[in-house]
Symmetry: C2
Subunit: 315 residues, 2 copies
Amino acid sequence: MAAIGAMPEIGGFRQKSRRSFVTLILTVLTSSQSILIVWSKGAGKYEYSVTTANFLVEALKCALSLVALLRIWRKDGVTDDNRLSTTWDEVKVYPIPAALYLYYIFAYVDAPGYQILKNLNIISTGILYQIILKRKLTEIQWAAFILLCAGCTTAQLNPSSDHVLQAPLQGWVMAIVMALLSGFAGVYTEAIIKKRPSRNINVQNFWLYVFGMIFNAFAIMTQDFDAVMNDGFFHGYSLITVLMILNHALSGIAVSMVMKYADNIVKVYSTSVAMLLTAVVSVFLFGFHLSLAFFLGSTVVSVAIYLHSTSKARR
Amino acid sequence: MAAIGAMPEIGGFRQKSRRSFVTLILTVLTSSQSILIVWSKGAGKYEYSVTTANFLVEALKCALSLVALLRIWRKDGVTDDNRLSTTWDEVKVYPIPAALYLYYIFAYVDAPGYQILKNLNIISTGILYQIILKRKLTEIQWAAFILLCAGCTTAQLNPSSDHVLQAPLQGWVMAIVMALLSGFAGVYTEAIIKKRPSRNINVQNFWLYVFGMIFNAFAIMTQDFDAVMNDGFFHGYSLITVLMILNHALSGIAVSMVMKYADNIVKVYSTSVAMLLTAVVSVFLFGFHLSLAFFLGSTVVSVAIYLHSTSKARR
């Protein structure tokens, strides 16, 4: 029965390759998402209600989770781990990430300088990851995480970045609150998904997205009720809007997969690499120029990834 | 005889604190050197011949080495290791660093963008350190070194830095040649000084500086012969010129000490920290503003120092 001894090895390899696969998919989706945003900005201001688009994203994710579940039920039958019915005890914490994301959208500030401060969520994710998930990052992993934050910020430096240093205290507080909200939402989602490892990810996603739909319906009513009533739900939608909704839905599912099979740390690395990838692709697509700061930032991010991976290997 | 067992411990501590001391002195001197340069630039263009100042720096270092030797001879008597007389076999390689520095001065380009490329000498020092001194840097130390280079460059970013990306191939070749020259000179000096560890550092310095004087006399004759003949050797000297000569002489000796008791890697870290220190001090002295890029670069340099020091501790 030597095969049994070999099993964990194979399981480890499978798990590792699944983790790599979902991470790769997330990176590509996040990157193409940014490219769609740049493209849509070229086409002029947002004409549609962002809240309706967010609602559709949640609805689409819900539908995709159901489709996946139907296939699984047909193949494996309904089990305790993949049945859709749930208990209040299981889902009572599920609204928390959705509520946090909603707060995040309300708090959202799009001033040019604040783009830079968004990178603070790398640090907040690391801190909350340790506190909430009680998983320790090694000193080298922390060094790598600080480098990741500094590298991403460096890569995004532009002549107006220094304004951020003159930002009022209120702006800093807002940025830190936003970083904490987004970090907390991410880490809390991982806590929910990892709480019952054997539970099918599609069921977990389904219920998470149901609450996402509810909270986004609330956002439509408070923010865009008049616009939707007067101009219709789909007013201002274009091909690019549809593509962005599709992309957001798929990346949302990819994020969930990364939370299930990897963790928030991997997610942060993945989105950071996506940011660099976007810039490189934009050179070819939109004739963007890469700055020296971008090269320096990318170098620092690459070293951060290297340090994180060697540190993991030693564990 | 338990004391013998304890000896290396005490020796190790002494050596370590001496290494820390000379490194600290070098950092402070390098930093005040940059501050003097900024100050003197405020006072207008260089009025004096730089070659004569360089000559005086070498002469002063020579004199200071002799004074130190006189004190040592009076205290310990003349030994094989501290006598001034030497053999051709010992000093035949001594002219090499001086000659390299001279080439470096001739090749020197002071275009605004090239300031950025100067940081390449961090990488060239690391490479030549491995090749010439045959001492291996660990992977983490290399990662730290790349971060040091990226961090220093980031800290110096300014709106005109991107010009460097448009520099012609010739400019890049020149920058790389300069980085190699300066790296080679530094590493070769270490090789010379470390070749005979028991040899008194002041004797080694004395002979190195004698060749420095000879090469700088040659530079005066080829570059500033007319100016010196017409206006005199000390034409255009001011208080600040004298302070700069004093400072260069003392930092030159500090560099030698670092080479003897530490190495080129420590020297590179020391000058990098000095660069950051200079910027911070300039805020108070000259009302400079620190950019966001400076903060990011300093963060990366700090992580580099941390990584280098933990990596050393594990050796």
